[in-house]
């Protein structure tokens, strides 16, 4: 594992150094193509269960030949090629956020977290309530200034103030229990090849599938490839579970295309998950939900090496959508990209990793 990582990382670096002047324009164009897809996805809102805006953005970005379909779980399917084996790639549409749990007498909202997050990162920040109509702006009340009751054990509750003087005024804005809440977000380019935003998990995976679809010629595929944009991953892999049940024993392999939570930060312990940004996608060989069979890891690494696509091999924490295919005997070979500060309002990626991830997805779909 270490050897493969070192070789591939070295190859990346050598390639960059040797061909830097010629690559500068080519790389800029590659990264611009990534941003053209990633930026609108990041700036779409879709808390678990309310993914329609993100699904619509994906559908809009797909190539003209694509005939994507939505199933009853809200998953978006793009099926390409014919014959077996069937290989499934799955990236999730949803993002973490909050749900309105109650409208209080004073007009403020009790909001419950959907997905794993630190509420402290949201308190004292602007808020948006997604009503299904126009979003309603507000603020996440800072705890020190709000007279909120203690949250029930095991439930992360925050208060949201939309400026309604009482319950009736707030409801008159169209706000109801069950609607979702996020914070306004923007895609922002940092120095060099880095970018920041919220919900890179898993809009990067979603973008990689879109970019790969743009490169694939479905007429030339020698087997069936399914790109699946799934729902409700953050609250229990629910969309993927429905898709896995629908496919049953048919898939030969599933690739979850999802975040590799990286320890590439001064704040993290570096005992595992050390996949630096900028060194390429990551074979997420082991996490809390799956272990990739070692032969598959080796084969994936060989493919990447052949195609001169950088690949890191590591382990991290978290679960992935591919793991729900396990009960059907489908090998799960998740592929990620290094992400800093996951599930925070300021996640950071390296766009070269995203471009290489799309390359790898296309290569695996067409040739593995």
């Amino acid at each position: 594992m270490t050897t493969a990582r070192a070789w591939l990382a070295g190859g990346w670096m050598c390639g960059a150094l040797l061909a830097a002047p010629a690559l500068a324009g080519q790389e800029a164009a590659r990264l611009a193509a990534v941003e053209e897809v990633l930026s609108p996805l990041v700036e779409s809102y879709g808390v678990s269960g309310m993914e329609a805006p993100v699904r619509a953005t994906v559908a809009r970005l797909l190539p003209a030949w694509a005939r994507a379909q939505t199933d009853t779980a809200g998953n978006l399917w793009l099926t390409m090629g014919r014959g077996e084996p069937t290989v499934v790639f799955v990236a999730h549409l949803d993002e973490i956020g909050f749900q309105v749990r109650a409208v209080r007498d004073d007009g403020t909202l009790d909001a419950e977290a959907l997905g794993g997050l630190f509420p402290s990162l949201w308190e004292g920040q602007p808020a948006l309530v997604h009503t299904g109509g126009p979003d309603v702006p507000g603020v996440f009340a800072p705890r020190d200034s709000a007279s909120s009751a203690a949250a029930p054990a095991g439930v992360a509750l925050v208060r949201v103030d939309v400026g309604g003087a009482d319950r009736a005024a707030t409801q008159a804005m169209g706000i109801r229990v069950g609607q979702t809440i996020t914070s306004p977000k923007r895609y922002v380019r940092l120095l060099g090849t880095r970018a920041t935003g919220r919900s890179f998990d898993d809009r990067v995976g979603s973008a990689a599938l879109v970019l790969a679809a743009r490169r694939l010629d479905p007429a030339r595929l020698r087997h069936t490839v399914i790109f699946l944009w799934s729902t409700r991953e953050e609250i229990g892999l629910e969309g993927a579970r429905a898709a896995a049940a629908a496919l049953g024993l048919r898939p030969a392999r599933v690739h979850a295309i999802d975040t590799f939570v990286s320890a590439d930060s001064p704040l993290e312990r570096r005992n595992f998950a050390v996949a630096p940004l900028g060194l390429g996608p990551v074979a997420r060989a082991l996490d809390n939900s799956s272990v990739t069979p070692p032969a598959y890891v080796d084969s994936l690494a060989a493919l990447a090496r052949t195609r001169r696509i950088p690949l890191q091999v590591e382990s991290t924490n978290g679960g992935n959508d591919g793991s729900v295919f396990a009960e059907w005997g489908v090998p799960d070979v998740p592929i990620g990209w290094p992400l800093r500060y996951s599930h925070s309002p300021a996640e950071v990626v390296d766009l070269r990793d995203v471009a290489a991830l799309a390359d790898l997805v296309a290569a695996v779909a067409a040739g593995w």
Partner: protein, 323 residues
């Protein structure tokens, strides 16, 4: 930002502000001022904008924006502080990460805690540079309470601007002492609420800008025997250098109003005596006019723009009538 701010009010320049115009301009100006950053000691970008907005205004030796209305011997002063708490780059690491220190003056715990895991803006020598304050990934965290443990301080902050070396940082015009603040994103919500860091103070300053513009445009508004000094003062939360300089260079004043924001009913105006006259007797009788705010001192300090309009009207009346 300064140019945009000036352009937005260009149509109002040189003509009296009617009530309808004032109502239309104030929310926009308040939002624009709230979107700007003026960390204590590094306020000059905001002062530049104020100078562009106020015909006849000059920058004094302390860096305040000052305009004098009228030419009479009896002087009065109305001042609005422009400074805000924030941070500066304390150190640049070899690997491109930045560490921070607090700018001098009061930096409340909410201001400090609410930059964790957020986007920040660094005001470098070559312009604004976006960055983020690192936070542990929840997936890799063990033993941290789900509700947040409140242990974050700026002393444990690492700022990530996408740099991978000290040279990257320098090339972006960023270095030790570069001011750093939470990326501003003023939020209008509810019937007429505005949320932003120091929203109430900035809204009060916006009200004063409009009142001063109105007075400057309406010849004879200030009584002949009087003059009114309008000052937007720096470093109010540190040494008071800005206000002190106005007192010593422009005083003595018969009376002074110091505007500010503070905890209270959003948009409510609280007027009360202030002890600043003890420190600077040349200020005369000092009254503090404080625009009320909910969540005061936080990144979503919230005031009501209706109150700001009331404040602008009250200020115009005070400038014109002497009380």
């Amino acid at each position: 930002m300064a140019a945009a701010l000036a352009l937005s009010l260009l149509a109002l320049a040189g003509s009296p502000l009617g009530a309808q115009e004032r109502e239309a301009a104030l929310p926009d100006l308040a939002v624009r001022l709230a979107a700007m950053t003026a960390i204590t000691g590094y306020e000059q970008r905001l002062v530049d904008s104020l100078l562009a907005l106020l015909p006849g205004a000059t920058r004094d030796r302390a860096g305040n924006a000052v305009v004098v209305l009228g030419a009479g011997a009896r002087r009065r002063l109305v001042a609005c502080p422009v400074s805000e708490p924030g941070f500066v780059v304390g150190h640049v690491r070899d690997d491109g990460w930045l560490t921070l220190r607090r700018a001098p003056g009061r930096v409340g715990p909410l201001v400090e805690r609410q930059i964790e895991g957020q986007r920040v803006t660094l005001f470098g020598r070559r312009g604004a540079v976006p960055g983020v304050v690192a936070v542990r990934s929840i997936h890799l965290t063990r033993g941290r309470g789900a509700a947040g443990d409140g242990s974050f301080t700026v002393d444990s902050a690492y700022v990530d601007i996408g740099a991978t070396s000290r040279a990257d940082v320098a090339a972006a015009g960023v270095g030790v002492l570069t001011p750093v603040a939470l990326a501003k994103r003023p939020q209008r919500y509810g019937p007429d609420l505005l949320a932003a860091p120091v929203a109430a103070r900035r809204t009060a300053c916006a009200a004063l800008v409009l009142a001063a513009r109105r007075a400057a445009a309406e010849q004879g508004m200030v009584p002949r025997e009087e003059s009114v000094v309008v000052a937007f003062v720096v470093e109010q939360d540190l040494s008071g250098r800005g206000l002190g300089t106005v007192a010593n260079a422009r005083g003595p004043f018969a009376e002074t109003i110091v505007l500010d924001g503070g905890a209270g009913t959003p948009g409510g105006l609280v007027r009360g005596p202030d002890s600043l006259a003890v420190r600077w007797p040349r200020l005369g009788t000092v009254t503090r006019w404080s625009l009320g705010a909910r969540y005061a001192g936080s990144a979503v300090e919230t005031t009501a723009l209706g109150g700001a309009d009331t404040l602008a009207t009250a200020l115009a009346r005070w400038i014109g009538e002497g009380r």
